[in-house]
């Protein structure tokens, strides 16, 4: 059984005054196995964020279902959805979404505090991930005092600290300079190698070439997917570029 399964997901946005409706997703289906590192690529406005939000239960699908580790998200009661999210998912956002009222440390602790964990346990968990993430010596700082890359690493720590089943990342390198992007991608790879399942949305070819599989989304549907298998990053990069060119030409696969 797959860790994550998306079945025939449809999403229609209705504008407030009933007028036009936008079909953001149209029959999207795919699966993610445990330990996989999957990238989702597509043009801006192709529905990537919408898809990720539905998987994270931040948004509701108009039709279709998401099954995580055998649990149907649509069956989770509204009341329990937030708890479900913080126990099972780690979300990394493009714009970090750190709270400026908290130090980095407290930002990272937030999901654990919400889960009612003991301070000692929280400290223990943080100690394990802070060093590899390279944030051990800036934990007491506030978001406004650190760089974008450092913020994003703290956000990754916040996602990792709950030991989530899947990490969902929405263009995590989107707001970073190239050096910080490279560092973050290396980090994701490392985390994945330790067994963490990652689902990352991106429109950077370089970012996607790190993944073990890339899904291409166009006009609200999965258009194509390629596996990395034993290919190097460079070869993967080439494969992705080719697919993107194809996509841009609007041709069929």
């Amino acid at each position: 059984m797959s860790l994550l399964e998306a079945r025939n997901i449809k999403k229609v946005y209705k504008t407030r005054f009933g007028g036009t409706s936008v079909e953001a997703l149209n029959n999207v289906s795919f699966t993610v196995e445990k330990g996989e590192y999957v990238a989702i690529m597509g043009e801006s406005g192709s529905g990537k964020t919408t898809l990720l939000n539905i998987i994270a239960a931040l948004d509701k699908a108009t039709d279709g279902s998401v099954i995580l580790d055998g649990m149907d998200l649509s069956k989770v009661k509204d009341r329990d959805i937030a708890k479900f999210r913080r126990d099972n998912l780690g979300y990394v956002f493009q714009e970090f979404n750190l709270l400026d009222t908290f130090s980095l440390e407290d930002n990272i602790y937030l999901p654990l505090v919400l889960a009612g964990r003991k301070p000692a346990e929280m400290q223990e968990r943080l100690k394990k991930i802070a060093e590899p993430l390279g944030i051990a010596n800036i934990l007491k700082k506030y978001p406004y005092e650190v760089s974008g890359g450092q913020k994003q690493r703290a956000a990754v720590a916040r996602a990792l600290i709950t030991d989530p089943k899947v990490i969902l990342a929405d263009e995590p390198t989107g707001a970073l300079d190239s050096k910080s992007s490279d560092e973050l991608l290396a980090l994701f790879k490392q985390v994945n190698q330790m067994g963490q399942t990652i689902l990352m949305v991106t429109h950077s070819t370089k970012a996607a070439s790190n993944a073990s599989r890339v899904l291409f989304i166009k006009d609200g549907a999965i258009f194509h997917q390629i596996y990395k298998a034993d290919a190097s990053d460079r070869q993967m990069y080439q494969k992705i570029s080719d697919t993107l060119t194809l996509l841009a030409q609007g041709g069929d696969k």
Binding site: Y91, N97, L99, P111, L114
Partner: protein
């Protein structure tokens, strides 16, 4: 650039930020209105002629200063947070090619426009409200046109000038805020968010010190009138202390809570404590302002309510008998005993004319000398004027000498006092030992009658300075020892008082007629005899005055309270709206990270409740500390009823709490609407 460019830019800038500017301008309009009304009451003399008018006016004048300070702090602080939110906009302007001078000009016009609007509308509001008050006085309480509120040019000019200064300071501060930043810094500052405040222990402790010493001074004051200056110092200290404590102390408290990991890392504390720590420095100013306003409202309402509801009581205390008369002459001459006898005849004849039967007659004369009392010794002459500067006004005492024989016959006692002996009585706790030296005459104190001193002077408890009644064997011969003392003007220090009060058995009109007749007769009798003061009064004639005066004060209290409370509403609204916009994205993030709507709501509620309670609790404590002084001040109005004051204070606290709760509820609706 074209003429009118800057004003136009200024107007459009304010309009774009109307959400924040409108409440700010409304608040400053209200402050101008408050200032105008207070200034008018203090300086136009409308209060003249009321009993206790001097004190009330002093308090009002002080109120004007406090109001000025308060407006300055509040507007200054609010405006600087307002500008903080607009730094990005200014950054954009400078990238578009404006230099700091240009931006400064826009800001100048902004501030100038705000000043003009606030001053103009504030004056209209102030004058309108005072007209309303005048109508209220005459219609509701049916007080004769004693308090006519009219337009006062000097008050209007003062309001305009004072607020010109305040707005000019605001302008300077704004310039300072944008001066030391380059455009990119300005642009970034909007997004980067504010630094979380450091726990500033120095300021926090300073705040507590101010608060503590303010309380200490307030609680130590025995004689509110002579120590009015100290009372004002206490008020200023408490205000400063409140601001510092709420701004810095609360951050410190939050930081301490954050250090306690067991407490801090709990779902219900985590978010609220950190958010409060982040905000308190800014919120502190608003909360302190609310607290000061609430305290002022509570003090005004409870004291004037106590007076109004107790006006009959005051009247009865102040005028225990139906008719009273008084005469006073400085210096000594042989004719005085004879004069007393002539007074008796006069009263008897006037009473007879009016068909009155004199009952409960309490007529006596006494000699008086005042001086500086210390170590059982009354120093009648002070060495020099410089002594005056250092004297403790609570120790300026008045000594009244009364014959034992008079004391026995008039007040129904049976005491014997030998030559060189004295019985003493005083309402003030002034220490008198076994020997009492007055000038260079020493008496053996053979007894005390402090408990019954109100027999002689019914308002002794409320006297501004301590009065000591000394019962002696022969007051006339004692008085002769003091003829030699002269004051700085060469006038004699010794005085002779004649007091008279009695019941008549007549109806109200009869009493009033008798008193006024007596007054005329006294004038005829004493003309050209060197008396410094004499009058006759009646319980009934004073009734309307008392009810009117106290009703007027109560009305004033209500009026000012309404204005103060409206300012509170504006401050709270302002706080809720600006925080709502800040929290919008914050709660979005929390939800994404896995906080349930329920948890968010709980954390908002706990935060709101804490923030809601802080000013009320502080105002309650302030009120408790100040009540004893208020009670002493009320004694000057002849109200000796602390339980009544307590009751009024409790009722006012409940009412204000209720009102405050309601506005909080209403404005938190605005907040929820924004964050939801």
């Amino acid at each position: 650039m074209k003429a009118g460019f800057y004003p136009k830019m200024a107007v459009s800038g304010m309009r774009k930020n109307g959400r924040l500017y409108v409440p700010f301008i409304i608040t400053s309009i209200l402050m101008v209105a408050m200032f105008y009304i207070l200034h008018f009451l203090s300086f136009s003399g409308v209060m003249r002629g009321m009993p206790g008018a001097g004190t009330a006016t002093d308090m009002m004048v002080f109120g004007v200063y406090v109001m000025t300070l308060f407006s300055a702090i509040f507007l200054f602080y609010t405006h600087s947070t307002l500008i903080k939110g607009r730094k990005k906009e200014f950054g954009l302007y400078s990238i578009l090619g404006m230099n700091k001078r240009n931006i400064g000009k826009i800001l100048f016009w902004e501030t100038a426009i705000m000043w003009v609007v606030s001053a103009a509308l504030g004056l209209v509001a102030g004058i309108g409200l005072s007209k309303l008050a005048e109508l209220g006085f005459t219609k509701l309480i049916a007080v004769p046109t004693k308090y006519t509120f009219s337009v006062s040019g000097s008050s209007a000019v003062s309001s305009i000038l004072v607020f010109a200064v305040i707005f000019f300071l605001i302008y300077l501060n704004t310039i300072r805020q944008i001066r030391f930043a380059n455009p990119t810094q300005l642009i970034r500052s909007g997004r980067a968010g504010e630094k979380p405040p450091k726990a500033n222990y120095v300021v926090g402790i300073l705040g507590l010190l101010f608060l503590g010493s303010g309380y200490f001074i307030a609680l130590k004051i025995e004689q509110p009138l002579s120590a009015l200056r100290w009372f004002f110092v206490a008020v200023i200290f408490v205000i400063i202390g409140t601001y510092l404590t709420l701004m810095a102390g609360s951050v410190i408290l939050c930081r301490i809570l954050q250090k306690n990991k067991k407490y801090y890392y709990k779902t219900e504390h985590f978010v609220s404590v950190s958010t409060m720590a982040y905000r308190m420095k800014r919120n502190g100013a608003g909360l302190a302002s609310i607290c000061i306003l609430l305290t002022a409202v509570l003090v005004m309402l409870s004291s004037t309510a106590a007076l109004y509801t107790g006006s009959d009581e005051c009247l009865d205390t102040r005028y225990p008998n139906e008719v009273g008369a008084f005469a006073c002459k400085y210096g000594y001459d042989e004719s005085l005993p004879l004069q007393a006898a002539r007074f008796d005849d006069l009263i008897n004849s006037v009473a007879a004319e009016h068909g009155a039967v004199i009952q409960n007659n309490c007529t006596f004369s006494e000699y008086s000398i005042s001086g500086y009392y210390e170590n059982n010794r009354l120093q009648v002459t002070l060495n020099s004027m410089t002594d005056m500067a250092f004297i403790d006004y609570d120790r300026v005492a008045q000594i009244m000498f009364i014959d034992a024989e008079v004391y026995n016959s008039v007040f129904g006692h049976d005491v014997t006092v030998g030559p060189g002996e004295a019985l003493v009585g005083t309402a003030k706790n002034i220490e008198i030992g076994d020997e009492l030296t007055i000038g260079d005459v020493t008496f053996n104190v053979t007894g005390r009658f402090d408990d019954t001193v109100t027999e002689i002077d019914p308002v002794a408890d409320g006297a501004a300075s301590p009065t000591v009644f000394v019962i002696v064997n022969d007051s006339e011969s004692v008085a002769k020892e003091f003829i030699k003392y002269k004051d700085y003007n060469g006038e004699p220090m010794l005085a002779w008082f004649w007091n008279c009060r009695f019941d008549t058995g007549l109806d109200a009109d009869g009493q009033i007629a008798l008193a006024s007749d007596l007054s005329a007769k006294l004038k005829e009798e004493l003309k050209g005899k060197g008396f410094s003061n004499y009058y006759s009064e009646s319980h009934e004639a004073e009734r309307g005055d008392f009810v009117g005066t106290f009703g007027g004060l109560f009305f004033l209290g209500i009026l000012l309270s309404i204005i103060f409370l409206v300012s509170c509403v504006m401050i709270i609204y302002y706080k809720q709206v600006s925080e709502g916009f800040e929290d919008q994205s914050r709660f979005g993030i929390m939800q994404k990270v896995g906080m349930t709507k329920d948890e968010i709501r709980k954390s908002i509620n706990s935060q709101m409740f804490t923030v809601f309670m802080i000013p009320v609790v502080f105002a309650g404590i302030h009120l408790l500390v100040v009540l004893p002084i208020v009670n002493k001040l009320l004694m000057l109005f002849a109200l000796f009823n602390f339980p009544r004051l307590l009751l009024c204070a409790a009722i006012c606290l409940c009412l204000c709490g209720l009102f405050y709760g309601l506005i909080y509820k209403a404005t938190s609706g605005a907040y929820y609407k924004i964050v939801a």
